[in-house]
Amino acid sequence: MPTEVVEKQKQADEVSGLDALELGPKKEKGALGRRVWSSFWPKALAIAIVVGAWQIVYLSEWRPAYVFPPPADVFAELGALITEPKFWDGVQLTMTRALTGFALAVAIGTLIGAAVSQFRPLRAAIGSLITGLQTMPSIMWFPLAILLFQLGEKAILFVVVIGAAPSVANGLISGIDYVPRTWLRVGQVMGMRGIAKYRHLILPASLPSFVSGLKQGWAFSWRSLMAGELLVIVPGTVSIGVRMQTARDLSDAVAVLAYIIVVLVIGILVDQFFNAADGALRKRWGLTGN
């Protein structure tokens, strides 16, 4: 019947018309150059403010120049450092330690987090202990680590792992705890059980919280590692921490400040990486504000 066909078409048009209205026009992203500039200038300004303040303090002669050198000297030292292959060996050693420790912490933290969120008695027993461990300053572990493993790589690794693993575990636990109830009900009605439930629902749903846990875990492991490299000097190795300690022993303030900047820059770069991962995830999920 023609009237029925007309009626059907009208209904289809109503639906697609409404969809078009509700979706609205596409947002303009703006040119690439403009976006890069708008994210660049606040950082550049921040650096300028810090360096400017530093220069003013230097000029005020608050401390003698050999204790508190001007920015120009430190940046010249930095420039010399980064052309030195031995410096990069040190960076490599430090980063290898950091990544090994972090990877181990992620593996252990994930296992513990999964176990704690799965078994109720385990949660009661060690759930609060994990949070307690998180508040423990990592430097407190060094005396024990040195007794257990002597002055060696293992002592450093031990402290890095124990510093980072609780954050990773906590991130996973809270991610699993806060999976929305309706999602669980949908999964249950779909017939998700056991491993399928974890694979298709619990793990992806807890990912944002897990990524925050990783980010926090990294911050803890990086701090623990720096403390470790200053305290535990493994004979024959020249890590960033060892170089820093040597500079202090020689009262070389220019080098001390240069290494502070190196550690800061590495920290910021890695943080940027985690932020990018977090940002990409939020965008996928639609958690970013308009």
């Binding site: 209904q11 409404l18 969809d19 979706l23 949908v186 779909m190 017939g191 399928a196 992806p204 639609g286």
Partner: protein, 248 residues
């Protein structure tokens, strides 16, 4: 017509002792194959509880509930789509869990999205869609579960009037084309009369069946037609009387 859902003298009580809350009190209800049944009631009438029981998400206290081993799918006020999956990925998930192969999954998801008029939105993320579109994806996902009974818990409650109106038309069309059996919970009387073959009015605290209205108006109906409005007014009066009963 064969009975798909048989609810016989079902009571549901939460907690025990002095804290016990009687949610459903000796409720009996049969839903036939292909029927569209609306459960209507004020707050605290246990209509969502009844859906949870039929869905098997909760245990009944006494009585019998028989769905003959049939599959059910459930929809809520929120679409509850998974944000880590694309629109097509969400629709494909139940098929994946059933062990359907990748190519067949793709094809079937595409068909289902076409049914809810969302073809071309496969690769979008749920957050890129409007509320009404998300509910249609949820409907496609429910259809993917090959369910014999579709349970809907105020699925259009969060939508604006125009969107809801259009989705009523859509749901009615899909219900007829796909020969679904629907159990639809709402507190909106006109919505119930607009959609249902029957409207079951439930009392509140505890939930009991007060009356079973047969809605015989020819389809397709309009929510603002005189027949729908007239019948809705009659049911609303009964509902108001029931609410007033709780004054003291």
């Amino acid at each position: 017509m064969s009975t798909v859902v048989r609810i016989d003298d079902v009571t549901k009580q939460y907690g025990s002792g002095s804290n016990a809350l009687l949610a459903l009190d000796h409720v009996s209800l049969d839903v036939a194959q292909g029927e569209f049944v609306c459960l209507l009631g004020a707050s605290g009438c246990g209509k969502s509880t009844l859906l949870s029981l039929v869905a098997g998400l909760d245990q009944i206290t006494t009585g019998t509930l028989d769905i003959g081993g049939r599959h059910v799918a459930l929809m809520f006020q929120e679409a509850a789509l998974f944000p880590w999956l694309s629109v097509a990925g969400n629709v494909e998930l139940p098929l994946k869990l059933q062990g359907v192969g990748r190519a067949d999954r793709r094809k079937r998801a595409r068909e289902l999205l076409e049914i809810v008029r969302l073809d071309g939105f496969d690769d979008k993320r749920p957050h890129e869609l409007s509320g009404g579109m998300r509910q249609r994806v949820a409907l496609a996902r429910a259809l993917a579960q090959n369910a014999d009974v579709l349970l809907m818990d105020e699925p259009f409650g969060a939508l604006d009037a125009m969107t809801r109106d259009i989705l009523h038309d859509e749901l009615e069309r899909i219900w007829r084309e796909q020969e679904l059996t629907v159990l639809f919970v709402t507190h909106n009387v006109r919505e119930a009369v607009r959609l249902g073959d029957r409207v079951i009015l439930l009392s509140s605290r505890p939930g009991r069946v007060i009356e079973d209205f047969k809605i015989g108006h020819p389809r397709p109906r309009r929510i603002d037609s005189p027949e729908v409005s007239g019948q809705a007014a009659e049911i609303t009066d009964r509902l108001r009387a029931e609410v007033a009963r709780h004054a003291n």
